[in-house]
Symmetry: C3
Subunit: 267 residues, 3 copies
Amino acid sequence: MISRNTVWDNIDKVRGSGPVVHSITNYVVMNSTANALLSAGASPIMAHAKEELEELVILSGALVLNIGTLSPAWIESMRLGASIAAANYKPVVLDPVGAGASKLRTSTSLSLLEEGGISLVRGNASEIMALAGTGAATRGVDSCNDTSEAEKSAKTLAKKYRCIVAVSGCIDVVTDGDTVYHITGGSEYMPLVTGMGCIATAICGAHLAICEDRFAAAVSAMGCMAAAGGVAELASNGPGSFAVQFIDALHNVTENDINRLVEVRVV
Amino acid sequence: MISRNTVWDNIDKVRGSGPVVHSITNYVVMNSTANALLSAGASPIMAHAKEELEELVILSGALVLNIGTLSPAWIESMRLGASIAAANYKPVVLDPVGAGASKLRTSTSLSLLEEGGISLVRGNASEIMALAGTGAATRGVDSCNDTSEAEKSAKTLAKKYRCIVAVSGCIDVVTDGDTVYHITGGSEYMPLVTGMGCIATAICGAHLAICEDRFAAAVSAMGCMAAAGGVAELASNGPGSFAVQFIDALHNVTENDINRLVEVRVV
Amino acid sequence: MISRNTVWDNIDKVRGSGPVVHSITNYVVMNSTANALLSAGASPIMAHAKEELEELVILSGALVLNIGTLSPAWIESMRLGASIAAANYKPVVLDPVGAGASKLRTSTSLSLLEEGGISLVRGNASEIMALAGTGAATRGVDSCNDTSEAEKSAKTLAKKYRCIVAVSGCIDVVTDGDTVYHITGGSEYMPLVTGMGCIATAICGAHLAICEDRFAAAVSAMGCMAAAGGVAELASNGPGSFAVQFIDALHNVTENDINRLVEVRVV
């Protein structure tokens, strides 16, 4: 049974073991996701050159693929990275930023899923719906739709590609295709800071690196985000100060904060 | 008559309607401009792949082109983006970062202007002077020259390319080639934070997306920057805290702040 | 004799003369290093297109090469930039981010050193050990090893390539191959913020631009980092607020702060 204890245990393990997380990610969020990983206790690597992917994936505990600012050369790097990770039994998280908003984003995400090796997909509702074939085009990358729709799409996607799917929203949804967990907490400022979803994906990478049960890792990573978001909101006056406080909170969040600010329940 | 009321009305409209602003911009400012747009109430898209430009420009309310970290492939994307925007009657803002400092920057800016479809150019004095053919080489991208020179250059440029020109400086200058507005306010910290000009350009995109009168949109965007800068300075101890407070201020700025901190007048 | 007075003199000179520092650097730290340079009083240029390198290097006071997110095209730009800088007697700083973690990073750093024109290498212990041929593979780019080992490697590297070597760590080490300086100060938050090493490298560029004695420039730049880190820590609650306070501190740091918080001594 995954619970708030799991959230705390995994946060604590990341801090204790400092997993290396390799990201092939978008230009917009490289700085903020690297800072989030460092504050959470992980060690970020950002690299996309095909010449060095094998060495870097091998020394990492997880690989994060994020399609936020795509180009053909980066797609090739992501594919190569995923195949190296699969060959070396490293978990891979995919963030399908903007899937549904363009054919390039949808098809790149789907082909990465079809080629295999993706342990976890972390997206918002419209992105997950687009990949499950149940959603209309997204409006930007920050849109939010009905949660029950997202849940159905998440289950479809998880079953089809045998992966965990985590959907960020007012209520976060995490599923392996059968069981569904809801995680609540966080802050209304989160959608007003660019890359909070990308940070969630990177934190998923850190939790996957230290936790063999990928379903538990996905839930604990989303719980970590919810706790840090809740702590940060109390010290914020807007999205700018929230972003700063959030990084502090990833470093400082306690078991008590999780118990106070986060709910984890099986649906 | 454009006034402080126009500034507030457009700030309020951006918050109410959440326009999508698509940026093909430089690596340095992607994160901070995305955060500025979100805080102002807009919805940012950052994408440069030619394969997806048509879909993304069509779902956006405005396109921002920023040449801060140029390369041949990105120039091609900007050209394609501008032509798609023109064909779909979407406003385009150009930020000629560093024009005058290299032939590549000057010629790229001028050819984008010559190909048409640019609604608004937002730059600093030396950049605008370089494009109008009246300035010497810039010293970096943060130099500041005499305002009356900038005004003359701005009018020349606006007339030649039938666009609005906004020049950031101690006093901001906005012109359609005939009428000139001055906007005062802001903070002395603004030139000490990288990308404040690029943020101004992005905010121009948001205002153009919700206001058909592009002259009014340019003035209101610069007025929004001036108000947020004034609010932020009061809570800052240096350029680092100013940057954070500025993002908060874009989210929180009120009509009263504008009346207190900003002047808008026709020259 | 290099001393705390040298640190203050060079900080003051950067503020007074505003040197232009051109960086060909990694995507992760472009924003934060540009902000650090601005806060310290310098004027940053970030540009990598071969078409404009000559013009921009010539108008700069120093060139920074940082291999954090490498690709073949960027390696070519770095090589071209270094050769233009050498031909124009501009100092060049190399930050061998992640050297030792991949062959691409190690060999790119070494070939830049072999081609000549590098005035200063600034790295962490594992990177310097990898380049000197004395270290094992780095674990990520944030690893820290024994200081005496680093010192030996730094001397070897400095002698071999006739450059200054600065090694960041709990105690910073700067050497010309013969004399060794230790700089202490800073904050335990520094390794928890991405790009603090890259910022140190950029500040080295600013100090090299205003100080002919490159050994003194390297020591004063590291002393500036140590002072700003010490000031920032007092106002921080975690790595997020530390990063903001650090940028403020670069702007505000006084001679008194240096005397209070930094030690500079010849070993």
